[in-house]
């Protein structure tokens, strides 16, 4: 239960802090939160007996069983050890942080993040489910990202944050894969089950991959070479965060997970080779690099890396030799390194620099911190009787049988001593080394700031001296075996003790000659950040390369698409070609001849529309092709389709002519000049080849389709049989359109209606303040001449330009005769839709054409004036609404959508009134409205579009 309580407390604090604490002074915030963490520390400590006896409460609740995720937490020795470190160090850091931040809004943000982090970190170490663990793991990465980028204004901080997230997040992905594979291999994602299935797991074929993936995750998180470089850069974070996350807790998450899995998988050869190798390399590398840093935080970061390497190496030692040392090392390191980070933060605050070359003699301004540093430094150096000494002893003892490991460990220990000396002496005691650099006058810091580090430093002493009674009970349950910790070897002076004494001496010696090695110019090796940046920029240039394909040329896009389809479609044709029957072309009747002629005519006209290099002529050719196709429909015989085709073709021709008139001749000339000249000859051939191939494929389909006609049964048989009995129409096509597949029609007129609306909105959208009468400058060529010619019957200057000589008695008479006839014809189509060609759609097109004629004859202004009742857009809306209401009304009465409802009892002139009549009227109105809308839009004289 404690697990849940502490998670709830911490996450609530994370949410509440920024909400309620804005007015509270930051040191008070820190103090409060520190008390909370201390309370949690106490609570965890109280769990110790239960944990030791193995009766600690586990918490488990279902969460997402489908993906194996359960909300389960446990508390064993290992978890408890980490939990104590987290809450304990956390309490000290909170206390310190309260003084570190000047502005309450900064501190509330910080505290919110840090509380969330603490919660995540605790969840991580207490998680009883692999996925839960991973969730917490990622949580810590994200919060670390936010903390590193805490000073977001600073570009360096942002970059470091991003880099850290990439490395740990990327490792996290590997870890996720590893954990999922692990869970999948074990058949359960519960840690307890995994622990129980160790044998089976070690035999599993995926285990190598699983280990490698998990290692990548842990190495990135725990800053192992070669993934270490994010950690030094992470020092952009505020110092309390560095102390807490990047030294005491988060970077130990990898170590934690390794330690967690060590009992289960620690016997594998991969485990016992990879971990020591990477760990030792990291250990030595970190210790070496740390020495030559100039930034205090950099020194500490590399030192941390080095220590993390040691921990990883220890966990990788065979037969659990190093576990005890690792556990103690975690504790000791958390205490002294946390202290040192806090000190560095204070130094930074006071001296406004972290450059060790400039710093010096700070003992006078920061005496408390000097003492604290001395203690923590000595602990780090492994000076008895401090905690660090015990830790170092154990480490050396663990590797005492392995010469290489021992050597690395020894050298690193010595170098760590040097580092400790540098930290203390060069910052607090000795004068600045390079006085040439501008020195900062250090100022005093609030007194309370030293409490936090002071407590931690004191803990190093207390833990060292009281090691047996205090630390043993903590470590024992974590290690799982009988553990005896001692300050001095009871057997007397042993090898390990000698080694650590030697390290102290050598370290001091190295410090003494520091002027020598600091002056060395070492060859610059390829650094991690460089590799990282190179990798990122490599990925980026690959991305740029890919994006070049998005070159903005629609023709290229279309070509790629068509080519791809061709390749895909070629497969079944080639594989399945069982020899299509190709019947000979026989023309037996005049109708056949006619069909053949019309087919050829349509092809010729289409070809002409391609070859002609005048838009108008191409449009005419296209219209001719369309009419020919209409003829083909007629011969099918499909009179309904033919009718629609003829009408639509007429309208389409009007439309394209208008569009030609509305685009400037120069632009069109320029565009059409590219017809043959604008692309290379090869390009033309390429297009032709592609087109031919597609044509061939379609021909194959069509042949297959027509040759399969014999003996087919289709649902059309049912339509033929049922049109008259069920919906009372002779025209089966009409029956299908309005009833059997009436919904298609509802949607289709919606498409048409909104397309019209779109044209209107596009061409005539009102832009406030920009409405002006268009003076058609693009037609300047003829305007003056027209103006002269029209002078005599000019009414207003605007109208003058629109009044065309085309608006003459002949055309006017035609317009006024055709419109009522069109309406009459349309009514005929509607009322006899079920008995003859024509339906609501053709009716709409016909009235629309009648209106189009008016626009052609009179132009926009005059038409609007002469047909004041014409409001096209609401007509669309009305038509669609009517259609839908007609369709939905039966639903309200418990019948089907668009149910056929005949109106009986009316029998005049064979007109059949039914729900479909209303539907046809609706279709007609929508289509008529749509066409009129398009006409109105394209004849609109206003140039409203902001260019």
């Amino acid at each position: 239960m404690i697990q849940i309580v502490c998670l709830i407390v911490l996450f609530s604090l994370a949410i509440l802090t920024p909400l309620v604490a804005r007015q509270v002074r930051s040191d008070r915030q820190g103090m409060f939160l520190s008390l909370v963490l201390m309370a949690l520390f106490g609570a965890f400590l109280l769990q110790l007996p239960a944990v030791t006896s193995g009766t600690a409460e586990q918490f488990s609740a279902g969460w997402m069983p489908q993906i194996g995720l359960s909300f389960s937490f446990m508390l064993d020795g290992l978890s408890l050890l980490f939990a104590l470190v987290i809450t304990g160090v956390g309490a000290a850091v909170m206390l310190y942080a309260g003084y570190y931040f000047d502005k309450p809004e900064e501190s509330t943000r910080f505290f919110a993040l840090i509380m969330a982090f603490t919660g995540s970190m605790l969840a991580l170490v207490m998680a009883g489910n692999l996925i839960t663990l991973f969730i917490a793991w990622e949580g810590t990465s994200i919060l670390s990202f936010l903390l590193i980028g805490f000073k977001g204004k600073d570009q360096e901080a942002r970059r470091s944050a991003s880099q850290a997230l990439m490395i740990t997040g990327g490792g996290g992905l590997a870890l996720l894969a590893g954990l999922l594979l692990l869970g999948s291999a074990a058949g359960s994602y519960e840690l307890a089950d995994i622990a129980a299935s160790g044998e089976a797991l070690q035999m599993h074929p995926w285990i190598g991959a699983i280990l490698i993936l998990i290692f990548i995750g842990c190495f990135t998180k725990s800053a192992q070479f070669p993934f270490h470089f994010w950690l030094p850069n992470a020092m952009s974070a505020p110092s309390p965060a560095s102390a807490f996350l990047h030294s005491a807790t988060m970077v130990k998450a990898g170590v934690y997970l390794l330690a967690r899995l060590q009992p289960t998988l620690g016997d594998l050869p991969l485990w016992t080779t990879a971990l020591p190798v990477f760990g030792l390399v990291t250990l030595g590398f970190g210790a070496l690099v740390a020495l030559r840093q100039t930034d205090l935080k950099g020194m500490l970061a590399y030192s941390t890396i080095s220590q993390l390497g040691a921990l990883v190496a220890l966990i990788g030692l065979p037969e659990s030799h190093g576990i005890k040392a690792a556990m103690v090392g975690i504790l000791a390191h958390a205490l002294y390194k946390g202290t040192l980070f806090l000190v560095v933060g204070a130094v930074d605050h006071a001296a406004e620099t972290r450059d060790i070359r400039i710093l010096g003699g700070l003992r006078r301004t920061l005496p408390g911190f000097a003492w604290v540093t001395l203690i923590a430094g000595l602990s780090m150096a492994g000076m008895p009787p401090l905690f660090g000494f015990v830790s170092k002893e154990l480490m050396i003892e663990a590797v005492i049988q392995q010469p290489i490991a021992l050597a690395v460990m020894g050298v690193s220990a010595a170098l760590t001593v040097t580092l400790a000396l540098r930290l203390y002496l060069e910052v607090f005691i000795l004068p600045p080394r390079e006085t040439a650099l501008p020195a900062h006058e250090a100022h005093h810091l609030p007194r309370g700031m030293v409490i936090g580090p002071g407590v931690l430093a004191a803990a190093s002493i207390v833990a060292g001296i009281g090691i047996a009674p205090l630390i043993t009970p903590l470590v024992e349950p974590a290690v799982g075996t009988d553990t005896r910790l001692y300050l001095f070897p009871p057997e007397g002076i042993n090898q390990a003790f000698l080694m650590s004494m030697l390290a102290l001496a050598v370290g001091a010696g190295v410090f003494a000659i520091r002027r020598v090695w600091l002056a060395w110019r070492l060859p610059t090796l390829i650094t991690g950040p460089q590799v990282y940046r190179a990798a990122v920029s490599g990925v980026e240039s690959f991305g740029d390369l890919l994006l070049r394909s998005q070159n903005g040329k629609i023709r290229n896009y279309l070509m790629v698409i068509l080519l791809s389809v061709l390749i895909l479609i070629a497969l079944p044709i080639l594989i399945l070609d069982r020899g299509l029957p190709i019947p000979p072309i026989l023309l037996t009747t005049a109708a056949d001849v006619l069909k053949a002629v019309l087919l050829i005519l349509s092809l010729l006209a289409t070809a002409a529309s391609i070859l002609l290099d005048r838009h108008l002529l191409a449009a005419l050719a296209l219209g001719a092709a369309g009419y020919a196709i209409g003829g083909i429909f007629l011969l099918e015989p499909a009179p309904d389709v033919a009718l629609v085709q003829f009408l639509v073709e007429t309208l389409a021709t009007v439309l394209i002519i208008v569009i030609l008139a509305r685009t400037s001749t120069e632009e069109r000339k320029r565009a059409i000049s590219t017809l043959w000249g604008g692309v290379s000859r090869r390009g033309v051939w390429r297009d032709a080849a592609l087109s031919a191939a597609i044509g061939a494929a379609v021909t194959t389909f069509a042949l297959a389709a027509v040759s399969s006609r014999q003996g087919r049964t289709t649902i059309a048989d049912w339509h033929l049989a049922n049109a008259l009995p069920q919906v009372g129409v002779n025209d089966v096509v009409a029956g299908i359109i309005t009833d059997f597949r009436g919904t298609d029609t509802v949607i289709e007129i919606s498409v048409f209606g909104i397309a019209a609306l779109g044209v209107l909105t596009l061409l005539a959208r009102p832009v406030p303040g920009r409405t002006r009468i268009l003076i058609r400058r693009r037609r300047r060529r003829s305007d003056t001449q027209l103006k002269d010619a029209l002078q005599e019957d000019a009414e207003t200057p605007e109208l003058l330009l629109y009044r065309s000589r085309f608006t003459n008695p002949v055309t006017q008479l035609a317009a006024s005769i055709i419109l009522p006839i069109a309406v009459l014809i349309a009514l005929g189509h509607i009322l006899y839709a079920g008995a003859a060609p024509g339906d609501g759609f053709t009716a709409g097109v016909i009235i629309g054409l009648g209106i189009a004629l008016w626009f052609v004859v009179y132009g926009y202004e005059d038409t609007k004036r002469r047909l004041p009742w014409l409001h096209p857009t609401p007509l669309i809306g009305f038509g669609l609404t009517l259609a839908l209401v007609n369709a939905l009304l039966p639903v309200l009465f418990g019948r089907a959508f668009l149910a056929f409802t005949p109106v009986n009892g009316i029998d005049i002139a064979e007109i059949k009134i039914a729900s479909t009549t209303l539907f046809e009227i609706a279709i007609c109105l929508a289509v008529f409205g749509g066409i009129s809308t398009i006409m109105e839009a394209i004849s609109h004289p206003r140039e409203c579009e902001p260019l």
Binding site: M166, L546, R741, E748, S750
Partner: protein
Amino acid sequence: MTDTLLLGPIFIPLLGAAVGILLSREKTIQHAIGFAAGVLAWLCSIGVLAATLNGDLLTYRLGGWTPPYGIVLVGDLLSALFAVMATTVIAAGLLYALGCRDQSVSYPAFMPLFLCMGAGLNGALYTGDIFTLFVFIELMVIASVILVAISDNRLGLEAAIKYLFISAMGTLFLLIGIASLYATFGTLNMADIGRLLATGERPLLAQSAAVMLMCAFLLKSAVFPFHFWQPDFHTTAPTPVHAVLSSVVVKVGVYGLIRMMTLMFTAEAPLIQDLLVILGVIGICFGSLGALRTYDAKRLLAYSTFGQIGFILVGIGWGTAAALAGALVYAVNHAFIKSSLLMITGTVSSRKHNKSAKIADIGGLGKGMVLASGLYFLGGLSLAGVPPLNGFVSKVALVQGGIGTDEWVVFGLVVGAGMITLLYMTRTWQLIFQQPPADSLKTKPHGDSPLAPTLLIGLCIALGFFASPLLDVAARTVAQLGDPQVYIRAVLGG
């Protein structure tokens, strides 16, 4: 009676659109009706899902005609799930539109077009007739083309032209496919086609129909090499439209692919799946890298969609029940994440006078927009699959489906691609919300309302913590899809 619910998500928005056109002068009423229609459609779709949860299918015979002679709407778990996803985002988009200050949103045509787009989408999901599918898709396409063309972004026009051309290719493929199916089986009802395909041999036309339908659906989902239109078209759309396009409209193709592979072309499915894995992987790479390198925050999200669709395709392509379920979960979660991210980006860029979301222009634009910053961050993390957000759940579900497929390279890529997502999302977040604004940056005091993205992010969080129901629905959906006879029996009876 519950069958009638199927009408709601299609015809309520359509009626709203019709009335909206009728009342185009009354903007307030029009918008109110539009939003109400969106909410009603949403409720209906939830009703459909609730009614199908127990494994029953809803079928509605339009006009009362017996299938396969008439058109039938079918609500199975797959369509119900996708429809809930769609209507949710559409309702959110409508909500965003109400608080949007774009010029284009104020046009009388906007609301009807938006509703038509939604109606077309829902119709495409529910219809059990392949030709009606085409008609609904066209409704959706035409509406979206216009919406993009009238966008405040003047390049919307260019994108609309390009899309209209490319979409015409998709329409052609679809129509050729439909024609081939009709030529072979003499029917248009998908269940009927499935029934006949399950019994008979496969002539050339049936095979090519499979290819053509697949191409059409791949194009609708902007899968490589049919993707060219997508970044242009999505990016230049008005924000609420972009949110719907990039999150749910692209899923129509995914839906179609799943439908055709599980209901009709079950024998061809393995071949198609292999192809989908390849295309999906290319999409993942292309989309992720494109997002990393493109020059516009909205375009980045469009490329990201390209990549995310790749993940879904890989899931479908892996073909295992778990992978397919993972793909479904991925699809749904991505819809909510992506739409919210787009809306937040829109909210931020609406503060600029030219509403540009160019990366060069928006550095520090979000300074002081705490809510937007938080939402964007959460959305970005979710997109990258960071727990405990819903994106994580989809990633885990998908990756678990990939375990044991022996496609380790793909598996690794799927896992690894999350890193690039993380990179571009955090980079952009830092850029917009952390970087100090340039001195020349002038912002408007008011932008679009962040209410809709807030709700959507809330949904993302909720779906992260309480994903069980979704996972459960996905698993049941996959189980249902496993036996096409269930669908066929429900539609054709017997």
